[in-house]
Point group: C2
Chain length 182, copies 2
């Protein structure tokens, strides 16, 4: 097993070759279930998914609590949903950066990022129709430790933006259907 | 304190009146920091935020691990970033539904939702330029227990879509700037 940055690049290369032979291997279906626990508190459970032409079950489900802080009428029993949106974006940009660095043979020592987003809750509250409900913008700042030259690290940041699934989900329209199954 | 569905509707009403008097109270800035831990594993920390004209610190930070499953070259040390995107959406639609139900005086007994999203990793891998990196679509299904008539529950689902910040972030373009601070 040959690893770069903790990523098995032989398996990565094999996966890419397998997908070139059979594009169905690239198809994934991810899932979540959520249960309301009262007020702003709810709990998401993540486990199985479909991908690479088979179903995958984790040994233990991931259980994720979400709540609002007191100023937003919650009790801080978890980060809030818009903070989880930043979490998803941070993790995805980082993984995209590291995996592509690994594929390119660039050794990375450390990656840190800080994210922030501005949101005006008049949208959520329905107090002003001209104001959007979500973030009006998200700023991400990376710090990367590596022996690679700065131009190459900037290139990796650009590749992360170009390839990250969550960057795409947030920055471009993603169709969502919502139905009531009562 | 008058609560409906665990939401303090007196405080909600006071907040809305305060915002009508001073729209700056509606402005929030949420933050996250992320640190890469090797391979597909990274950790997001959430704590302080600005909102309602002051800075807020939680007593304990929320620490959120993200990883990939083995089929995506990780070790399952946390849900993956696109699963956190579903988590954010699930929590936000649920909270939007419950808060607006509370404001309307509609009592809710249970809310459950299931989410799924399809994603073709040829986008992430750069194997096919015609395929998007993120979800090509997300399906959300709600089940709600309440004495309210089904038409009113459908109306609540529609309000959740109309008001949810994360629904907006995912379904509409959200500008993201990414910089390298080396």
């Amino acid at each position: 097993m040959k690893q770069v940055n903790g990523v098995d690049i032989e398996k990565l290369s094999e996966t890419m070759n397998a997908i070139r032979g059979n594009p169905d291997i690239a198809k994934f279906n991810f899932r979540a279930t959520n249960k309301w626990l009262g007020g702003g508190h709810n709990r998401t459970t993540i486990n199985e998914f479909d991908g690479a032409c088979s179903m995958h079950n984790r040994a233990i489900s991931f259980v994720i609590d979400e709540d609002e802080p007191p100023v937003l009428l919650g009790q801080d029993q978890g980060a809030n949903p818009v903070e989880y949106a930043l979490t998803a974006l941070a993790g995805c940009l980082t993984t995209s950066l590291v995996y592509h660095a690994s594929a390119m043979g660039i050794k990375i020592d450390e990656v840190e990022s800080t994210l922030e987003g501005n949101l005006d809750i008049r949208g959520f509250l329905g107090l002003s129709e001209g104001i959007r409900n979500g973030y009006n913008g998200i700023q991400v700042a990376f710090k990367i430790k590596s022996d690679a030259p700065k131009e190459q690290l900037q290139e990796l940041v650009d590749i992360a933006k170009k390839r990250s699934p969550v960057f795409d989900i947030v920055s471009n329209p993603t169709p969502i259907s919502v139905r009531l199954d009562n």
